[in-house]
Amino acid sequence: MSVHDHHGMGYRGRPQATFGGAVSAWGRWVASLVWNLEHSFERARADARPEEDTRVRIFLIMAAFCGVFACLAVGAAHAALLTPRGGVGAGFHPGALTRADLVDRNGQLLATNITHYGLYIDPREVWDIPAAKAQLRRALPRIPAKRLDKVLSGERRLIVLTGLTPSERRAVHSLALGGVTFEPEDRRVYPLGTSAVHLIGRSDTGGEGVAGAELAFDKEIRAAGAAGEDFPLSIDLRVQGVVENELAIAAEEHKVKGAVAVVADVQTGEILAMASWPTYDANRRNAAPDEATLNRVVSAHYEMGSVFKSFTVAAGIDTGRADMNTLFDASQALQIGKRRITDFHATNKVLTLEEVYLHSSNIGTSRLAVEMGGDVMRDYFRRLGLLDAAPIELQESAAPPKVRKWDDSTLASLSFGYGVMVTPIQYVAAYGALSNGGRYVAPTLRKGGRPNAQTHQVVSPETSATMLDLMRRNVTRGSGRFADAPGLRVGGKTGSANKLVNGRYNPAVAVGSFAGVFPADGPVDAKRYTVFVLMDEPGVYPRTGGYVAAPAVGRIANRIAGFLGVERKADRWSTALGEKIPEFQDVEGDGR
């Protein structure tokens, strides 16, 4: 070995010698270090402080280990005991959705999210392209042929169709074709189809609400979705169904252009049903004509006609300018400037306030309005919310055209519902204020009403009670006879107006409406519901509200009373089964 080494050194020269030298130097250094360590105790003893040295070393090492292990123990204990429940990620919820299900007040589904599937095809993995094409067309007829051709003749995996329903996916999947894959996508569906479509609205494919309640409660629907809860609306689907069906029947019977019906709780302002006719299928919105997608309840303005007399009469009673015994001269037309105001059903005699209301006398209400003056009328109209957009959550809620003049002629028009256009929802809210003790409650689609809702007094509770009595009389003896429902004590007011066509009121184009409330008896703060029906441009005669809208109100009230828990009872006008109680005290008799 030493011989070989010498040889190597002799022939190869420096480099290897340097390497070997470095290694041996390192070895020597390590050996001396170990030696030093091993003999440090002896040296310490030799330095005459043996105990101190050992103890310090042991103490230091133990302290270091204790520190490290204490940290580890604390960390482990923290991880084991104090991690939030529910596992990874904050706010995780197994049922979390981007948008909550919309439900009605009883938990019936209105809108939901269903996983749909996108269909992808990779043509490189398809064995027999013509056969695959034929099979796909048969399993999924709505597949666009062009797109399918393009994807199958291509080179890459591409999407063919989005929004496959689970059953369509199953149909395609069972073909067992190579190269066909699905990717899940969340999609909003409206299983009710045409029902409640206007008020539910819709959300786009990105999950943003774009219309109706989906837009109005967008944030809250998302929040409820993240928490895995349903979002309830104030709607009662049973009532909504009845209202829609009866509205559709009436609309077709009278051949109208459009129709509106609303049922609301007068005490809380909750909307129980809201229907706009014609309607459309929420899942095929693109195919619907514009006139069907319009929510007439909140977006369409109408001059309502005589239903406004309720407001004029209420204002008159509330200001103390009229009571049940006040007389109005309707024996001849009222002349305001160049304008003559006449009655539709002319009575040509002096009328009491009740008769003015029951005969729907334009002359009577005009006199009352002119007596009260512009400021008073404007104040009442403003407090009834007739001059501003209805404060319902729906963003479609439209502001009414401004009433510019408040002179006598305008006042006369306003008193019987001309010269002022309002949306049906504005009317319903104002009408509710007359029948709930005089409080204006903002209409709402939120179940249970708005949290800390602001209400304001419009008329006194006594005025409200008088109005309820008048409305009930109008149904038992006046123009609203057809709205009566057995035992439900329906009260209400008819309205008929001609529409303004090219600047003139055209008697051939009319709007008929009926605003009903039931039960009309009992204390002013009792449970009570308004039913409002409006028929836009009936195509057949008769076209007045008493014929086109009142029967629908009666039928709706009759069918929904059970759902709302309104019992059938007798009052002084009729029995619980709807038979009239003859009135012996009526001196004029019932000969009209």
Binding site: D101, T112, I114, V189, S195, G487
Partner: protein, 132 residues
Amino acid sequence: MIAMPAPVKRLFEWKVRGVRCVEIIGVACVLALVFSVYIAKAAAARESAEISRIERDIRANRERVRLLRAEVTRLEQPARLEALSREIGLGPVDVKKQAGEAVLPDIAPPPVEKPVEKAPAAPPAATAEAVQ
């Protein structure tokens, strides 16, 4: 050296085949700890696998429930129900044919206690009267 109390000293000097018993006991304890931690960890892993399986199950079921609920709602569309029931001749019940539970005894009196043969004849007649 620090003066150790006698019992502690004895404990440390208790040896088996030159190995301190304290150390043997310590090692045994550590081994037991290691083993139990391993068991617990394995059990936890199994549990969490089970939990995620159940959660997956729940999600799938929830999805299915949503689908079925939507299907039920689609079938229960008010317009559809009304059309179907009108088709088979159903309609709103006439008010004269409606009754609450309070009037039920009047319409159909409860059977009389006495086991008389003729008793059953009476209720149908009463029902007919009340309904009319």
